[in-house]
Symmetry: C2
Subunit: 284 residues, 2 copies
């Protein structure tokens, strides 16, 4: 049996690790990567078969760094994963009761996005210093290895059990509808899978009507746009890049390909990031 | 002479403070606010005349929290400001030479976005702990008041002189084309000023064609869309909110109003955030 290697961001127990586990189950060897760019490089070099990266969050918006990397590397999106994000306050096990314990915590480690999403908690506990970690699971690991009962981490319940920590408080997030969308990347296209969703990036000159004339083509009755976002391009002040996701019925794939071909003639440049099976964010 | 009160985010020397100073010069009293929501509340209550908030950054994208507040409150955008963002490493004055000094720094305080934008610096100095502050100027103030020469802040050159600190290193940012766009808010519309740009938020049902049919109206030859971004609406899984900015020639204001009226009939809901004078990001 061939071993499939899958790269994820962070360490065991990170949200990207959980997304990768959710998608690949026990059919792959998951490999930790500290940086998004390392995942792209290793996929490009053929060292790993698949990579899992966060692409957007319902509160924080698009992960622009990963869109930039998708534009630079020639990799394909072959799947998507939605994950509900919930934050816990984790610390070294102790017999002190939770409320009293909270008062003894001096420093909390986590990913900057996780800290931002728990603003109410930090407002209610102004004595706590907020320290950044590369990902939530690394924060949990640091606390586990610290031997210091005044430290805590904001991380997943899986990170709690992975690093033998105790949960002091649950659901620290301000907004309960906190969902992250991840994508699965590969150098090769998997032909066998269902494909009813597509992601593209295109660029347009900053001229009146150009966006409309481009959308006129893509707004075919076969296509349902679910995301559109414009971004100024660094160093090219009058050009814009657009991220678009759209869904379609897989029986219409051939016609959709024709629409995309026509669309490519209306824009400055077009990159098809991949065709893949859509998932329902409500199922996560 | 009437004193105009202007609210800004952070404390003296923050980037929003600099944007407010740039726009109002010495014609206003600038008042510090710790939270964006406080600025909206005080404007709404008529306690302050204007407010300045960041709305998007060329690297980090839209500030969704402020778009959400613009949707909730009935305030108007009356101006925009572009500011080039550059980061400095600031510490208490010392006679130690800069390179040797850097090695003695144990903790760096700053805003999470500023820390994210200086990734290379932190990779080169893995011994430094990254600690969050509500804004860059608050980080500088904390270091100034600390009496601890192992602490540093990432902040503006103005924050350096404001809090009597020393610059250890300049241009810590990974990407030199780092521009933030701020908007000026008011409860009242200023009729006298030039208006050749408009910002709107609208919502659409998640049905094929709805975006295209809405854009068909707004893609009038008089209108040049410069930004479009879709966002899922929390708690309404099949509805989307769109942020759109467009420019026009101020002589055509009456016709543009007609176009917007027609557009309003094609969408689920429409909020005109304001008409104001466009600025050139290249001039900042």
């Amino acid at each position: 049996m061939k071993i499939i290697k899958v790269a994820y961001h962070g360490i065991r127990g990170s949200f990207t690790y959980l997304a990768a586990l959710n998608h690949f189950q026990n059919n792959a060897v998951l490999e930790s990567h500290a940086r998004f760019s390392d995942i792209f490089q290793n996929l490009d070099a053929g060292i790993i078969a698949f990579g899992v990266i966060p692409i957007e969050n319902s509160l924080a918006g698009s992960v622009h760094e990963n869109y930039d990397l998708l534009w630079r590397y020639d990799l394909k999106i072959v799947g998507e994963i939605y994950l509900k994000i919930s934050h816990n306050l984790l610390a070294l096990p102790s017999s002190i009761e939770s409320v009293a314990r909270l008062k003894t915590i001096k420093k909390v480690f986590s990913h900057p996005k996780a800290i931002e999403q728990c603003e109410r908690f930090f407002n209610e506990n102004p004595h706590i210093e907020k320290v950044l970690s590369p990902d939530t699971a690394s924060a949990a690991k640091l606390v586990a290895e610290s031997n210091d009962i005044t430290l805590a981490a904001i991380a997943s319940t899986q990170a709690c059990s992975e690093y033998g920590l105790q949960t002091i408080s649950q659901h620290l997030e301000d907004n309960p509808s906190n969902i992250t969308r991840f994508v699965v990347l590969s150098r090769e296209i998997s032909e066998t899978s269902i494909s009813n969703k597509c992601s593209i990036i295109f660029t347009l000159p900053h001229i009146p009507q150009s966006l409309f004339h481009a959308l006129e083509v893509i707004s075919d009755s076969l296509i349902n746009i679910t995301k559109i976002e414009s971004r100024p391009i660094h160093g090219k002040p009058f050009e814009y890049a657009f991220y678009v996701d759209f869904e379609f019925n897989q029986d219409n794939k051939a016609q959709v390909n024709e629409v995309i071909k026509k669309f490519g003639k209306k824009v400055l440049s077009l990159k098809i990031l991949g065709f893949y099976e859509r998932k329902n964010p409500l199922d996560c």
